[in-house]
């Protein structure tokens, strides 16, 4: 009660200060000047520039934050993107170098790394320095699952063309099926920068939704007997093999698809830093400080690029629809390909189709989904280690696919 009295008193003092100012202005004929200043100030506030579509985007941003913080769905991506959506959708008057699309603004400078495509290769460097390719080297045939799951990219490519997008836009939309955020951003920056916001947000949102999208598809295409298949534990991999993998992998994949060099070059370089054993300091920087810094800026700017007047379009809705379809096809492609491989494999060497979904390159979420679904049907059947092989192969596969699309469409 005493507090309220103080507050009312404070308010009256402030009003009391304005009164003499107003009287002075009236006496000196400056009323219009003050009103003009106030009007100008008002016209520059977000309240004056407010439109309903900004509110829609702000609600979406808050939903992203809620999913990231409360549901713990890909918080490292959804929290920066969600907050970026809020930042990008504060209404403002154009011409003051505030917005992300205004040349010279701070947000625009940070966004340049997305537009010119140099953030994704740095993220790939960090991914390479984090990834252990041992399971892949121990059982190389699992790499093919990573290729099969790229089916989602090319079917979406066709689907987007059917919906009236240009071939370049189709390529950029199709790559969402690779379930690889940095690759999607890299390709969109090259082929369809105008769709960057929608593609990046769709790719990252669906990556976060992997635990929701994939299980029904996995269950649909497998039967109980297949879900219980036990796989042999992978053999021990020598240090030589671990060091040789990034070198051979780089030379081979980039000789076939040179356009994928920025992504694959950095991925394999990061892995060599990790496996060489003599550059631990560099590997540590790549896997912690560097990737974290780029993730923060990338997430925030991608989120901010969803400015309502540029983002809320029919095209964005179509991209979201195509993205969902791409993820479903990619998951089904991986699972069905494992079943196809099993036709030729001897009893005892068969692969559990529940690791097929991991062919999409959402590392390590899709491998985690394989583990969880596998445990649901057999509490002692751990599939995580096996699923990591197609999962990292998916990263290579989607980068190769991006390179091919880039070569075809540039």
């Amino acid at each position: 009660m005493r507090d309220i009295k103080y507050k009312i008193g404070f308010l009256l003092i402030i009003m009391g200060l304005f009164l003499p100012m107003g009287l002075f202005a009236q006496a000196s004929g400056e009323t219009s000047l003050i009103m003009d200043s106030l009007q100008k100030f008002w016209s520059q506030t977000s309240f004056a520039n407010f439109e309903f579509k900004y509110l829609v985007m702000i609600v979406i941003g808050i939903a992203f934050l809620w999913l990231g913080i409360s549901k713990n769905w890909e918080p490292l991506l959804l929290v920066p993107i969600g907050f970026g959506i809020l930042v990008g959708n504060v209404p403002f008057t154009e011409g003051y170098q505030i917005g992300i699309y205004e040349k010279g603004s701070v947000m625009n400078i940070l966004y340049s790394g997305v537009l010119t495509g140099w953030y994704p290769p740095l993220i790939f460097l960090g991914i390479g320095a984090m990834t252990d390719f041992s399971t892949l080297i121990a059982n190389p045939k699992l790499m093919l699952i990573g290729a099969a799951a790229q089916l989602g990219i090319f079917t979406t490519f066709i689907g987007a063309y059917a919906l009236g997008f240009t071939p370049e836009q189709c390529g950029a939309i199709g790559i969402i099926g690779g379930a690889d955020g940095p690759t999607a951003i890299f390709l969109a920056s090259r082929l369809a920068p105008e769709l960057m916001g929608a593609i990046a947000v769709a790719a990252y949102s669906y990556m976060a939704l992997v635990p929701v999208i994939q299980p029904p598809v996995m269950k649909l295409f497998t039967n109980n007997k297949e879900r219980l298949i036990r796989m042999k534990p992978p053999r021990q991999v020598t240090r030589f093999e671990k060091i040789a993998f990034p070198v051979i992998g780089l030379l081979l994949t980039t000789f076939i698809s040179p356009s994928a060099m920025p992504l694959l070059g950095m991925l394999f370089f990061g892995n060599l830093l990790k496996e060489s054993g003599v550059t631990e300091r560099l590997a540590e920087t790549a896997r912690f400080a560097l990737i974290n810094t780029i993730t923060i800026i990338l997430g925030l700017t991608v989120g901010a690029s969803t400015q309502a007047d540029k983002f809320l379009t029919v095209d964005s809705l179509l991209i979201f629809g195509l993205g969902a379809a791409a993820f479903i096809v990619a998951t089904a492609g991986g699972v069905l390909f494992v079943k196809f491989m099993n036709l030729f494999l001897k009893e005892g060497n068969k692969i559990n189709p529940l690791i097929g979904n991991a062919g999409v390159s959402a590392v390590p979420d899709s491998a985690r989904v394989s583990q969880e679904i596998g445990l649901h049907y057999d509490k002692t059947n751990h599939l995580l280690m096996h699923a990591m092989a197609p999962n990292v192969a998916g990263v290579i596969g989607s980068a190769v696919a991006a390179g091919i699309l880039l070569s075809m469409l540039t």
């Binding site: 080297i137 121990a138 190389p140 045939k141 790499m143 093919l144 990573g146 290729a147 099969a148 790229q150 089916l151 990219i153 090319f154 079917t155 490519f157 066709i158 063309y161 071939p167 189709c170 534990p233 992978p234 053999r235 021990q236 020598t238 030589f240 093999e241 040789a244 993998f245 051979i248 992998g249 081979l252 994949t253 076939i256 698809s257 040179p258 356009s259 280690m385 192969a393 290579i396 596969g397 190769v400 696919a401 091919i404 699309l405 070569s407 075809m408 469409l409 540039t410």
Partner: protein, 114 residues
């Protein structure tokens, strides 16, 4: 660099097929190369062991699970050794010299305040 100019449905479909086939080819070659490397490495290490006097039946690949179990057991054993001490409790008497700087007498009031 331009491999294919896409301007019609047929070109688009051909482009898609080429795309997926190239992805498969790239990863298949990697599979073959690493299967070959695996074969060569395992064979050479086998030959080395046979040369050293081991019989072929004795050479078995220890799985990662077994190695992890052995490492864990060793780790537990080593930490257990560390915990086994003399079991003799000793109380060390520490003699402190009197100093007015650490005397508690000066920190207390001698008379009570009523």
């Amino acid at each position: 660099m331009e491999l294919l100019y896409i301007d019609s449905w047929s070109e688009l479909l051909i482009g898609s097929v080429i795309g997926i086939v190239v992805v498969f080819i790239a990863l298949t070659i990697l599979v073959l190369l690493f299967s070959l490397t695996q074969y060569l490495i395992l064979n050479s290490s086998k030959k080395k062991l046979i040369k050293a006097g081991k019989k072929e039946e004795e050479i078995i690949d220890v799985s990662a699970n077994e190695i992890a179990a052995i490492s864990m057991a060793l780790h537990l054993f080593m930490s257990d050794i560390h915990d086994k001490e003399s079991n003799v409790i000793t109380i060390k008497r520490i003699e402190r010299r009197y100093s007015p700087w650490n005397s508690k007498i000066y920190g207390l009031n001698n008379t009570l305040n009523r």
